[in-house]
Subunit: 150 residues, 2 copies
DNA sequence: ACGCTATTGTAGCCAAGGCTACATGGAGGT
DNA sequence: ACCTCCATGTAGCCTTGGCTACAATAGCGT
């Protein structure tokens, strides 16, 4: 848990304006912590839907990392109760994992559709959506949905 | 019957579709690498404009991290030629650093204005902008500018 | 001039997320 | 049966980015 408590910085002068900025940076960093989980959950759900199972190698290819990275990430997700790893068999999502995957997939879809509606070329939209989706708050997501449906 | 016939070497199916997805993930990760630099450059430029100098402690308060984290980050940015650290005096931006700060500031402003124009509440917009700005490609940024000016 | 305090800097710990190199497991082909 | 090849797994290293605890400066006030 990063940023639990702050240091005793003096904060002289009219620094309060900056303090809330610090909060925003904190949020951004905290959000980053969940990105991996969302990406993996989504990729796993996708692979299961597409190929019937999610194997380590397929995940690695899909996410663009080495199989070692996948294995370690899965161990973490497993500790976190999002996935169940069946050695040499594949990976399954727990109930929580499926919920996370569904949320991520939905958000991804909305962001992508939104960018397209904005007039961003398909290729770029797909790349940007990958980076943006993890930082879109519920309020902004709703605004995007409104815009798309408009 | 999990992965009945698509398991072997073939594993075919739409793997090319996944390959490009891997590329997208790669881009997102690469972009993440520059986030720190942009955040610091922007914060430093801001502090210099506001207070006349950018000190380590002020930066730490501003970014919401400990002064130690700032010091280490500055060392890296210095190696990268973005800042010049004057021990016990403050930090200055190099030409490249100023350019980066300007770009970051501009993008930040556009994203924020865009979110506001979309109808996102100010508070949320400010938080989201912090997370989103680093993942907005030039094409998407232009689309956002068009939308705001509309 | 001297010491106190806040700012800076150093040492060292932790987790995440990358990697390569090497070790095992499992299944198909001969 | 066995051999080989690919998928998995393990060991160990690197960087980034957090942190606390402690050491060293600088600059101010007395």
């Amino acid at each position: 848990m990063p940023g639990a408590k702050r240091s005793r910085t003096t904060n002289s002068g009219p620094r309060w304006a900056l303090a809330s900025q610090a909060e925003r940076f904190r949020s951004a960093r905290a959000a980053h912590a969940d990105e991996t989980a969302e990406d993996y959950a989504e990729a796993i759900a996708d692979l299961i839907a597409r190929e019937g199972s999610a194997r380590v190698t397929a995940l690695a290819a899909c996410l663009g990392v080495s199989h070692v990275t996948v294995i370690r990430a899965l161990a973490r997700l497993s500790r976190g109760g999002l996935v169940v790893v069946m050695p040499y068999k594949g990976v399954a999502l727990t109930r929580a994992g499926r919920a996370l995957a569904a949320r991520a997939k939905h958000r991804h879809g909305v962001v992508l559709a939104f960018l397209r509606a904005l007039g961003v070329p398909a290729r770029v939209a797909e790349t940007d959506a990958e980076g943006l989706e993890h930082h879109v708050s519920p309020a902004t997501l709703r605004a995007m949905e409104r815009f798309v449906k408009r």
